[in-house]
Symmetry: C2
Subunit: 459 residues, 2 copies
């Protein structure tokens, strides 16, 4: 096994057996891989991977618009449909065939306009298939003279991107691979936060504020507990963000359950009872990955696995509702925002959109300057007034590492994020996207998707 | 038993044993009760009841603002906290103590700013308590010289309002009772639609559009079925409204399950399979009250009843998901919008807000003109361009009657509403509320709630 194959196998191991969790936001990076030669002429390929966000298309728009400013190095601008899955099938489209207006409209269009995938190159599980996949990807790259590759995605996608970067070096194929951060979960390390998080946080906090007002107004003879489930498997960033809905101490949410804090059922029920006694109602936000004190996910249905082999989490709120209703005999209602929260472009954060665009632009600038094997990061300069710049961090230290909410950003009793968290999250939800509508409903971009002619045998 | 008591008992029976369902939108009203004397001077009491909506406060703002234009008849403007439940406890506030700006802000504030209740006066179940309640309510009315009573609510609330109207006649107490229509469910008869519906429809259709884009972009290697559960127990108006998300025939939603159409499981699975085979994914919207061919609600948990004695519906989407996953072995995700959909002021329909305000205003005008025992209706004049006026309909014909989606507004195969429905629903979601924000999140009205001095012994 070569050194690279060994590295890939180790990475696969991490992916399959659990991830490294980091709580230290300021961990020092390893030395980055050496930059490739600094002048490279060829075509650009941008693709999207993993769960979409409200702003992943804004990043693609940033890539395309910045690429247009470097005609001396970047010739054609291609999009890979459905991430590496589509690239393996040579499904490329010519983004220069799209109207400039459509590219601009991507900045308010949710979901993945190029399509996305969860396909993985699995060196450990299936080394032969992985080797064939790599050969095929480089065949596609060579056939279309792809020299710039931008992959917008989260932990798993940056792992794929990192593998491509190392393969290119190994194969002596000049290729610049830069990752564009993306995930509503906000669990990527070495970046202050990730594009997608701000918009999901804004929508979730707004929704919790609205639901809390509703439940509060019903409380007199209808006292009840409402449990709102939000996404976030290993990290409680999204759950935590709903604390922004709280303008007065008595405002909901009253309890925020994060995967970082094991749930003590007895204390949880006591806290609900205390809140109901005081206010007549109680608003609970539960991150989908909340765990009991034995480390079991409350909402896990172990009979169903997703494509990465993790159990499907379908019911933290329902599971909690059964406990609350059963033990406290309290009217309990649940809300499960699910995909709605990652697709809610209709109330996206303009700050988030701007940063998503900036991340795409920064990725292209870095590649044109000769960098490869990095992900763009968002580096915070100041909280208030908020300022940021973009930076770069080696992909190898981002892939498969999940960043969780630091313990000291959560109140001592564990029920709510504290002022430190609020200072962090508040600037990310600012500014409202000016959403074009048609007949009162959103008007999203539609790519015409002119295919790039295939030159290879079908896979 | 007097005639009135008999009437009340019959109404209670209907409430407890099921409701009348009507499909005919143009049924002729019975003769309205005789109007009261046409000049009455005294105080106004406005209250809210039942589940809140995004615009129920806009109706209250309409009542308050119109009342201010009739000082020759309306002296004080009071709000009853938590509907009749609070009025029984003499919990009134002086709305003239609120800032004019706050009243204006009610037009974009969700939930019930005065608080709401589900308390019922139950002549059949508990005649002695009901008689005591009526005595108490009229004591409160007399003590505070309440001569104008406006109740914003749905079927059950209009039943209460109707009882008050008849009691006032029986007791020879001059009182003008006018109902202000309110329900996201849109199931009140004799009105084209109800304030609250347009905003919930706009939010639900937008959410389904966004989720559909998300799921579509993931379909290639992650083909899946997403089931979105929306409110609507007996009537499928809210589920149906999500058809507005469909701009092309292939757009989601692909299947909309309404309580009006019994679900044939086999046909449902076949339809999903057909959609997946064609598109790689399938978007299903399920009204919470969807029933199987034996008439059983799919998501009913019969061990838990709400305060009206109906089983709590917590899981139509989860129940369907188990069927789809089990029988088709298909990745299936659920979204349960729950209270989020009725509180979503952040994306409310301006048309709906305007009509809610207009309904409140019309209620006051009718009362000042001498009417009592009516609910304000919204009467459509034209579809495109849309035009409406307000009208009046006797409360007795509205209370406890639920209007469902006409069969001929649904496609023959039962899977989607048709063009007739779209023509009906499209104008109701137009116009976006210009929502004030603070730090990126909504800024809602907060009443200062100056109490009216109590003069009675505590209940």
């Amino acid at each position: 096994m070569s050194e690279l194959e060994q590295k890939n196998a180790i990475a696969d191991d991490q992916a399959e057996t659990g991830r490294t969790l980091i709580h230290d936001l300021n961990a020092e990076p390893e030395t980055p891989p050496a930059p490739a030669n600094d002048r490279l002429v060829g075509n650009l390929l941008v693709a999207q991977s993993g769960g979409p966000t409200a702003v992943i298309n804004a990043s693609v728009a940033g890539v395309i618009q910045e690429a247009g400013r470097h005609p001396e190095q970047i010739e054609e601008i291609y999009g890979g449909l459905n991430g590496i899955f589509g690239i393996l099938h040579e499904n490329l489209i010519d983004l220069n065939e799209e109207k400039a207006r459509t590219i601009e409209e991507l900045k308010h269009t949710p979901a993945a306009a190029l399509g996305t995938c969860r396909y993985k190159i699995q060196f450990k599980k299936n080394p032969e298939q992985a080797a064939r996949d790599m050969d095929r990807l480089f065949e596609v790259f060579k056939s279309h003279n792809i020299r710039y590759f931008f992959y917008a995605g989260g932990n798993d996608s940056q792992d794929t991107n990192n593998k491509l970067h190392h393969e290119a070096i190994k194969r002596g194929y000049p290729l610049r691979c830069i990752g564009v951060p993306k995930t509503i979960d906000n669990d990527l390390p070495h970046t202050d936060h990730t594009p997608g998080y701000g918009s999901a946080a804004k929508y979730n906090a707004t929704t919790v504020m609205e639901i809390a007002a509703d439940v509060a107004s019903m409380a007199t003879d209808d006292g009840s507990c409402c449990i709102i489930e939000v996404m976030g498997r290993a990290a409680g960033w999204l759950a935590a963000s709903t604390v922004l809905a709280k303008r007065k101490p008595t405002d909901g949410p009253h309890i925020i359950l994060m995967p970082e804090i094991p749930l003590n059922e007895e204390a949880f029920l006591a806290k609900i009872k205390e809140t109901i006694d005081q206010l007549g109602y109680c608003i609970v936000v539960a991150g989908e990955g909340v765990k009991d004190t034995d480390g079991n996910e409350l909402g896990a249905d172990k009979t169903r696995l997703d494509s990465f082999g993790h159990p499907v989490l379908s019911g933290a709120a329902e599971a909690l509702s059964e406990v609350v209703h059963g033990k406290l005999d309290l009217k309990t209602r649940t809300v499960k925002l699910g995909y709605a929260q990652r697709a809610a472009a209709h109330f996206a954060s303009q700050q988030d959109v701007d940063e998503a665009v900036a991340s795409g632009r920064a990725a292209v600038r870095a590649a044109v300057e000769g960098k490869s094997g990095f992900m763009v990061t968002i580096d915070r300069r100041a909280d208030d007034p908020y300022e940021y710049t973009t930076g770069l961090h080696p992909l190898g230290e981002i892939a498969l590492v999940e960043r969780t909410v630091p313990r000291d950003w959560i109140s001592e009793d564990g029920w709510l994020p504290n002022e430190q968290f609020i200072r962090y999250a508040a600037p990310l939800v600012r500014g409202r996207l000016d959403l074009p509508t048609k007949g009162g409903l959103p008007k999203f971009a539609e790519l015409i998707r002119v295919p790039v002619e295939k030159v290879l045998e079908p896979r």
